[in-house]
Symmetry: C2
């Protein structure tokens, strides 16, 4: 391995790269086991693709991951350990659909019972759920028809199962909402794997009892900050890792100013960020290939703040899905647990994100507010505060919520390239999770898994 002069030299049992939920969970597990570790993080803050901001007036907004559902037990337990409270996502009243032709239609209940394409949409998603039940989430490549499903896109599958253009629009918005991708760029098998890892289509799509069930009183970064406080000086922010070398003796991780020598490393980054590091020796072909078939989703969140959640007075929940030509795909009532202020959050995904992100900021805001007015009333066009986070432009995340697999990624590279350790380097990150892959919960369980593997291998070393 290389030698360096003029750098801070740190020695530790384990070095963790990345202080998102995966890296922090790994550090916490090592801490609990009494194993010494150091965490190096490129950004000046923790929590990665979770980003809680306090706006003027003390309002807490989540620009990134924000929800927790009842089966996301790793996240719930972590929050409970550090006393981070949750509250049910606001959803009382009528939801709204804005159809392709601009028609605005309210409905009650988790999903509309009727409307253009609903029957076909429901039929096709039931087929997806049936196929997802065949997936082996611990060893996805062992799934009976993995290669067949992985050789086609979700789009090919949808079009071979329905010719109903409204149903195709609903299916596309589903893909946009969950993967921040378009059906034409994502592997059908990856969709099935992800459904299996979450517990089915309804778990991914719905609110009460599902992935969007609850929010965090102090924001979704609160548990991450609590872990960071516990780690103290073992956590080093603002240190992008440029090089990771290993030999029989251990691992060396280099940032611009620091060299960490350790017996094991846990790399807990999104796939593209792993590829930006120089590894010595180079990564195995299957690991590198896995990473290069994992683009990040395209997403932004825009928040608009009002005196009160005025839409509730007219019987509206603030939840909406939009199929029109505006930028917004989905709207939620993101107001705090208390009664005020009122907050709407607009999600911009996929192709709509690409077009919208190129506009100047004023035009972006105007378009989002026009969409909000369509679903919550004209008053939504005049917020007290407006803020947006384009994750595709984030220096470190470069997209969100997570990376998805393009066709062939699982087939060609999954068995050795997904999360099998590379010598003394172990892999974490929500993209390596078998349960709630792509979610905060998956990030946490992936960190625990990697830490447990490292503890086991250190014990085997003696």
């Amino acid at each position: 391995m290389w030698e360096e002069t003029g750098m801070d030299l740190i020695e530790s049992e384990v070095v963790i790269v990345g202080a998102g939920y995966a890296g922090l969970a790994a550090a916490l597990r090592l801490h609990d086991a009494g194993v010494d570790c150091v965490v190096v993080e490129a950004a000046g803050r923790v929590a990665g693709r979770v980003l809680t901001e306090t706006r003027a007036g003390g309002l807490t907004l989540d620009h990134g991951g924000q929800w927790v559902g009842p089966t996301q037990t790793h996240l719930l337990a972590l929050a409970a350990r550090f006393g981070c409270g949750t509250f049910p996502t606001w959803e009382t009243g009528r939801h709204v659909e804005v159809w392709h032709d601009g028609t605005t239609v309210p409905y009650l209940g988790a999903a509309p019972a009727e409307g253009p394409g609903i029957a076909e949409y429901t039929r096709v998603t039931a087929v997806l759920d049936d196929l997802a039940r065949t997936v082996d989430t611990e060893a996805p490549w062992r799934t009976p028809r993995c290669a067949q499903f992985d050789a086609c896109t979700a789009d090919s599958f949808f079009r071979s199962h329905t010719t109903d253009s409204d149903a195709l629009r609903r299916l596309a918005l589903g893909v946009q909402g969950v993967w921040c991708a378009e059906p034409y760029e994502i592997s059908l098998f990856h969709v099935l794997f992800y459904l299996a890892a979450a517990g089915g289509w309804e778990q991914l799509m719905e609110t009460r009892g599902c992935a969007q069930d609850s929010r965090f009183t102090e924001g979704a970064a609160a548990p991450a900050r609590a872990v960071a406080d516990l780690l103290g000086a073992r956590l080093r922010l603002g240190e992008p890792v440029v090089r990771v070398a290993q030999d029989a003796g251990g691992v060396r991780v280099r940032t611009a100013s620091t060299l960490v020598e350790a017996r094991r490393a846990i790399v807990a980054l999104p796939p593209h960020a792993v590829r930006a590091i120089r590894f010595d020796p180079g990564l195995p072909v299957s690991r590198d290939g896995w990473l290069s078939h994992s683009p990040m989703g395209r997403v932004a969140k825009a928040h608009a703040v009002y005196d009160t959640p005025f839409w509730r007075a007219t019987g509206l929940s603030g939840i909406a899905t939009l199929y029109d030509d505006g930028p917004v795909g989905v709207v939620f009532d993101n107001s705090p647990a208390g009664g005020a202020p009122g907050v709407l959050v607009a999600f911009v995904y996929g192709d709509r994100l690409t077009r919208w992100a190129d506009l100047d900021p004023g035009r972006r805001r105007d378009e989002v507010l026009a969409s909000l007015a369509r679903v919550a009333g004209d008053a939504a066009a005049r917020p007290l505060d407006y803020t947006e986070k384009i994750w595709s432009r984030d220096t470190f995340a470069r997209g969100g919520y997570e990376a998805y697999m393009t066709p062939g990624g699982w087939t060609g590279y999954g068995r050795r390239g997904w999360r099998e350790p590379t010598g003394h380097v172990h892999w974490a990150g929500t993209e390596t999770a078998s349960a709630w892959n792509g979610y905060i919960d998956g990030a946490i369980s992936s960190g625990y898994r990697a830490a447990d593997d490292v503890i086991g291998s250190l014990q085997a070393d003696g």
Copy 2:
């Protein structure tokens, strides 16, 4: 833009990132136009994915790109300008096919006239050629059914056009041989675009009059070295670029030790290497998305050297295609223009590369030599010299021959993300070429195009 201290500061009209054929061609065009430029290259040598080595005894071997065909006029003209000679690829005698069941069958002519799957293979490739004629190679997204063809893999297309397993094997080897990828991971539209850019399936596959027509007497890097000599001190090797910033005034390109300030930049790197650079401001979503849907092919070349090309004495050409369970897909007679020594080159691609690259070096060599013995006789198992280059493990190239597009890449990102300049940063590299995309010739024309655009924009600035 950021400020730096303690770095070499260089000022130039144009800075070029990458000294492969694309970057060198751009520099040459600027040189000829009297425009000042500096070229920074990460590796300690020029020519990128072309790598000529002189072995013991003075034998010249090409580990990377090696051929030139009669319609590759940019490469032919560049070679002529610097007096780099070519000679016809050795192909006299019977070629060999090793079938799936291990049967070894010789044939005469460019392609076997009969054999398992030949008729169906020929029929499907004719359909591909027909569809390729509809492609607009200058603006591929304007192709009539671009979105439809881009939403599926080549595998989906092949399986919907034939159920003949031998034809499917032939089609797969074609994809492996041209894109170093498997049919299940490549966009059908990308295959069609690439066919159109080269002039059809036969141009890609065959030798005489086609892409594999001739080789370079002094190796395929000879023209690149000639350009490097001409550039002299304007070429800076061993300087990986880590950051590119721009504002209205121009561009700053930073390596570990050097800062280059210029009015324009031309970035001439493979897609993954562009993504490893930090851009300020960040790349547009469409450019970043384009790059993240462009994995590199998986390929290695292995050379075996013998006293003489002994296979010619038994009427064999040394050219072979293999469908068996060995690592090798294609073999060529890579002997020099003179009569000796004899050289066979074995190509290992795709899934076969992934498996083979994980073996220890002795086992890799044994497997390749066993394949060579199958197609050229037992004496092929006892070479005087053996050497291999696993491009997927190359620090800078990380694959070869080029990047291909996964499904949806052209649809979602092509129009703005393929090669449209990003402010003062222009894009070159064979992946941005409209003719012979993926080849040395495409790299050269892409460099000329980018340089011409830069010259035009500098003139417009005044």
